[in-house]
Subunit: 344 residues, 4 copies
């Protein structure tokens, strides 16, 4: 059994991580920290874990809180993991940060978007971007994994086969994505009240969303050249799920994209390319680590529309973190990640 420590597990990525790890056959959660909840039982905060989890939150500053652990997973807001990383790595622990501290390789760019000074810029270059479909081997060996953001996971998995093969005009990449409200986290925030967010849709951060540079970095890397990427996120009245609708102009409209995507993802356990003409529902991936993708070619145009869906808290956060953990520990990549979405 691998011993895992969790930093800051009181938010939605924390509760999702616990839901997955509590039943993981090869993992023991050895410690979980929270400054605010120290001394309280995990099950009192998350009643869905009553009877399934005996953990008590520890003080993150406590003596030897992760002394027994092999791997630490950070489920904190942005800007916390980087304050722990140097010490943890120095003690020989490995770290998966579910937040954004190590996702952007250009530290100045990161500081600009996240509005803070990076606490350990020297570790950024070492961090492996934890998208297994792109970086599987590097992840397996990594000391420090930067787990991708939710939108970046859906958008990059949708675009990868296209940009890896130079099939998208670099200035034509756009994404219109919608997310459930859990993407905003568990903070008490008026616009996320049911009374405000239900029965309504709105775009947000059209002037600039932090996931834009993360996606642009990933697509540029995959394309081998800089790409331009326009991103419009929206919030819709549901709890979990991201549906990303991707647009690009094709450099070669004659390529069989359906075959290309199926070949690219044939051996991926968590990417499911629908048959031609399909429309994935977010509910079919809810609570699972799957990304479901469909490819459409609007008639009479040189454009492609790709539909990519994930659960923002699972493949978009904690599920992917467990997938990375499995890779890092040499487990089967699907271990503990075999849930089937509730239907209905």
């Amino acid at each position: 059994m691998v011993k895992v420590g969790i930093i800051g597990g009181t938010g939605y990525t924390g509760s999702e991580l616990l839901r997955l790890l509590v039943r993981h056959p090869r993992v023991t959660v050895a410690a979980i920290t929270s400054r605010a909840e120290a001394g309280h039982s995990v099950a009192s905060l998350f009643p869905s874990l009553r009877g399934r989890c005996d953990l008590v939150f520890s003080d993150p500053e406590g003596e030897g809180v992760f002394a027994d652990c092999d791997v630490v997973m950070s489920a904190t807001p942005n800007g916390i993991a980087m304050t722990h990383a140097p010490r943890l790595l120095a003690r020989g622990l490995r770290l998966i940060d579910i937040a954004a501290d190590f996702r952007i390789r250009d530290v100045a760019l990161w500081e600009q978007w996240y509005g803070m000074k990076h606490a350990c810029p020297e570790l950024v270059a070492e961090a492996v971007y934890g998208l297994p479909e792109q970086n599987r081997e590097a992840i397996a060996k990594a000391r420090l994994v930067a787990n991708p953001g939710c939108y970046p996971t859906a958008v990059q998995l949708g675009f990868l086969p296209l940009v890896e093969n130079g099939l998208a005009e670099p200035s034509s990449l756009m994404a219109s994505a919608v997310s459930g409200t859990s993407g905003a986290g568990r903070a008490a925030h008026v616009p996320m009240l049911l009374s405000e967010a239900s029965e309504s849709v709105r775009a947000y951060a059209v002037g600039g969303h932090r996931h834009q540079p993360e996606i642009a970095q990933g697509l540029s890397r995959a394309a081998g050249r800089p790409v331009e990427f326009v991103f419009v996120p929206h919030v819709v009245p549901m709890i979990r799920g991201i549906h990303a609708t991707l647009y690009a102009r094709l450099t070669d409209p004659s390529v069989d994209l359906q075959a290309l995507y199926e070949a690219r993802y044939r051996d991926e356990p968590f990417v499911d390319v629908l048959p031609a003409g399909g429309h994935p529902d977010t509910r079919t991936v809810r609570g699972t680590n799957l990304c479901r993708i469909a490819i459409h070619r609007p008639k009479g145009t040189d454009k492609v529309v790709i539909l990519s869906t994930i659960d923002n808290l699972t493949k978009g956060a904690s599920g992917q973190a467990v997938q990375n953990l499995n890779l890092m520990c040499g487990f089967d990549e699907t271990e503990g990640l075999c849930d089937i979405a509730l239907f209905p």
Copy 2:
């Protein structure tokens, strides 16, 4: 008082039309027909109208059912109004069709998309497309008004200032739009059950939606040349509302689009351009005849993103039909259309 007859008022556009007309200070609903509900009271079908509407559904084939009427409004499914139109116009009545029978000027194209033979192709050329912001004067004089579709209303109002001024590259127009479930009508249909449509998002008809040719026709007309238009509709878990996110590449990125849009819509009672940087929520237009629009310019690109929101049943259907009725009757255009959206 103008006397209005309603054909087929048992669906959602019918109930919305009744909600508006029952309180309209210058209109009397003289008759409402339904084959299935003939003889039953309107209030028994729509309990929200109990105490507010004494009408009984009439048989559409009944003798002189609309004999007293000045204007007939058709709230039926597609393909019904065209079977009534010649007879009604011949009797000197004016007709507003809320469905699609007279929206597409190319009859062959209409027949291809709607899968039926047109019943009165000779009337199509006469029909005025009922988008007041584009055709106000023609509507006022029309005998036959083709009320626009819901997506076409949101998309065209969002794009008009751009394409009227040649500011969008003609092959760059795209829209990603989401709609509440009421857009699918009141038919018993498994995918629209709450158990299926709640807590999920999916795109649909990406291979071809009937509103695509309607929008392409309208934008081409406004542009004075053919435009290419890619359209991706989605259904989201709410009852009412459309949020259309529009994309185009600008021919002249230096134009002040905020000023352009404000000027274009300054005198429009039902189009509200938000201050720069805004994000309209669909809930702020729910139950109203408003279209709220915001303009964004993604940094470092030559693209524009326009956000356009309406209530699909009001400005996107029955409210706009009442606006057209007001124009046709010489009333103040806002008569009976002054509701304020519920908040929350």
Copy 3:
């Protein structure tokens, strides 16, 4: 035109009050106060009022803020109106408190349930409980009206005909009621996030809810003797609406309750007794000032089940306050309250 001042209109009862008063044909809103929003426009806080309301929030401590007003309506949290009441009444203004400060006649009981000292206990006896179906004449003459709570409105209107006629055993009255989330107000509160409150139902405050003593007081008064009342409120995933399911054991099971209820409410403009066997939906009263009621007699028992539905923000708060305002000003009781619920 009557000039109305509003204290503290930044919450949901405030926005609902503005929605109603802005269109009221005989009312002008002369001033609205908010400590936090002083100097900001009302429409910037409530985008649904853009173009319909030019008011700017005033400082509640400002000089002569309600100098011009005839009536002041308080839409603040509990405990605020009582700090303004003595001064306002002394200046000859009349006051309608939408919160709970003047609802409970037993000041000690009030202080116990609301956890604070009453600021003007001497005014409590003068305050008229603003349930027009019970107190119409007293309201018309009142200086100070205590607008009923949301649950108390639904429950009392459902029970009144029964208890007024001694038909319910006094120890048998129970109510199981569900409310939408807007009942919890606009405070940022984690359990009311869409991510928490959607797709779930829970009871709350079963150990004691503040509306229990208010209802018990009202039913005891109507019965002319003390009654025992068990109350279980629940929160369900919707924005607006209360559905109260009421139970009592009948003292005389032979009475025709349907006829009794219809007679009791025949002349009430805002109480609609459904035909026998009916089941009111909360959506048919959403955004309206209506209370819809149905009466059921479980077979083979001496019990009655009454279903009573309102919109918690309209008949359950601000709509009823406007109804009271109309009575106090000698207007038609339905003035400004003629909306029809959106369907769907």
Copy 4:
């Protein structure tokens, strides 16, 4: 591995059964029938099972369709399982009916409520009512199990400790329960459209619901004498979940009910009694086989309020059927039933 056949798995109880059995470590689904879907793959009907289930629907009339099976589970509408039962039992198969055909021991009463003639009244007496918390040993040996209804599961588990100990006055039992829309099944039915059922609550079948006699039978049996039971079900805008609020007058108000309930359910793997003062949310049991219960004593009364929550499709249908299957096969009762509810 036990081989299970499923009759009629195209509805929500069928999809839930598949979700559970596909991952069950000791079960193989050998066949699944559907007249309408014969020849089609299960995954094409239920996309959430893509990649997890290779079954194809068989014709229920097909030769030897369940020849290989040990147990057959029927997930059909009411009235179907009884037409298969005699033949299946004669062939030595065991049968679990998730519908209502064998729940009511009084065949005449069943025929009255279900509006049809019973096809095999001679088997009704043999059928074991599949509530493990009441009938564990009989279930283990049964040939024919009548799986309880959803409301009956929540209501009976909530009342059992009380009525088994004679603590409730027999004429005082009442339940007000709310259900998500999945309880209405997958039939295309206008009132269950999201456009109709969202943002609304209503009671239904107050004049008589089929679960009333099932519950009255169970409570009378547990009490050892006839009890009177008043039942009011409601539908609320969510997919899954039942929250039952139970009321009774106590014969002995001095009993420590919290201790009584904790003792009664101490060894039950799927009944969780919350600490005193708790309020269970339906979301904490969603997708699980748990029933969470809390006990409240309204102050100053001799009444008790019990809150009981389940997932209507899991503990209220297919999960409980799997629990019964485990008992019948001698497996650990929790096998395949260890999911943790998604949060949020």
